[in-house]
Symmetry: C2
Subunit: 235 residues, 2 copies
DNA sequence: ACAAACATACCGACGGTCGGTATTGATATG
DNA sequence: CATATCAATACCGACCGTCGGTATGTTTGT
């Protein structure tokens, strides 16, 4: 019965479907969301869905690509900014990813959080993380190369180091899993500490690999862990 | 205790189903393997399957647990061996995991390789890796603690460091993905180098986090990368 | 006899396909 | 300038095979 909207360009429809899918993934998780669910929320028939996407997987690819492109948009400033020392450029890189992280809460961060709840969704999580790696690594490898030239970073292969470091930072997600199943306030405190300890250790691993002073790499804002746990508890 | 038809104890049936499932996962990948496939290969009815397992997920859990228990069996020697220096104990830990890795080829390593082929199977991969982490971390954390006591490792929190380090080592799997799609012999050489570079960088990250000399941590045997690529090419 | 160990028929949900219809914009024509 | 034409595009909804899972009946060992 749904009538066709004549002002809709194909791209708009695709984005509309993306939006609905993302919303559903956030609220009920990836694996629990069927194409029928997405269809119904979007007010679109199955035929329409498969007109715009070859498969469910292809749709998810498009959604993740769109997400990664948003990161690229903000992150490309790392190389575009002029007149920075190698270490300052590295710190800018950290800051942009930190800020993005803070902004993305709850928008896109909830994508990850929701998928953390179900073991089945770890594949989705993995794909999301790899999209992020693909977006960040090319720029970050150049940041490392510049720092190696200046003698700031004590490694010899930025292209190999870049994905390793980004994935060390992304190990974060395994620790967040423990944040579920919190009951008492003491649990809450313990989990906050565990997340903070883990973040510190990740930063330490990166600092020492690069040969820069302990504590240089701050992966999240100071209140990240407590905010995360508080947010989680509120729902 | 209770002996049933064909001399089959319940545990034997379970292991038989595990074996068939593992074989199928290796040959055609996890997501492409249905319960019906497993039933048919095992020569068992659906009723029998669901008599022994609550769900497909439960069966997979059991299979992964069995795999992790095999690791535990060999790995527990790390703490049982007496009279070792902290660094030698750490090296023993590395050696046992390296040897196990070499032995496990093609047996259980193929589990990972097969799941690397399909993007859809990354969830399965993730679960496998987390089982390994759960098996290794308790012992490894103690190894680290002993080394910290002796002033060999320059960190202060073995319980946080242990899973981080194990997962750095497991990052390996992301690099292996690039080994597919090899055509020319030059490709082959380049991929071998890429795998070796990555392994070296992972070892370096661990060495420097722990504060031990560069090159101490050898994650695989020397011919691992070339053997892997050669094996892959043979099929 | 009785429970464990199976077997079989069946179910609903899922991703995906298919034949068909409505809408559109470009172009040809009166 | 208005309109008929028409292929491409956007969309619909019934239908299909497969999957994980269940309900219920049957065999087998003790």
């Amino acid at each position: 019965m749904t009538r066709r909207r004549k002002n809709f360009r194909p791209e708009d429809r695709r984005n509309q479907i993306f939006d609905c899918a993302q919303q559903l993934f956030q609220t009920k998780g990836y694996s629990r969301t069927s194409i029928n669910d997405i269809m119904n929320i979007a007010g679109v028939s199955k035929g329409a869905f498969y007109h715009h996407f070859d498969s469910k997987e292809a749709m998810v690819d498009g959604l993740l690509r769109r997400y990664a492109d948003q990161i690229r948009g903000a992150y490309d400033a790392v190389l575009e900014t002029q007149g920075l020392s190698a270490l300052d450029r590295y710190k800018l890189h950290l800051q942009i990813l930190r800020d993005r992280q803070a902004l993305a809460e709850p928008q896109s961060m909830m994508l990850i959080i929701a998928s953390l709840l179900n073991e089945e969704d770890s594949g989705f999580q993995d794909r999301l993380m790899e999209e992020i790696v693909a977006a960040v690594v090319p720029v970050f490898a150049e940041v490392l190369r510049l720092g190696i030239e200046d003698g700031v970073f004590l490694i010899d292969d930025p292209v190999t180091a870049a994905p390793l470091i980004v994935r060390i930072a992304n190990q974060h997600r395994y620790v967040l899993k423990t944040a579920f199943g919190i009951k008492s306030a003491e649990d809450q405190k313990a989990v906050v500490k565990k997340i903070e300890d883990s973040l510190k250790m990740q930063g330490l691993a990166i600092d020492r690999l690069l040969g820069i002073p302990d504590g240089t790499t701050q992966l999240r804002h100071v209140n990240y862990a407590s905010d995360f746990v508080a947010n989680l508890h509120a729902k």
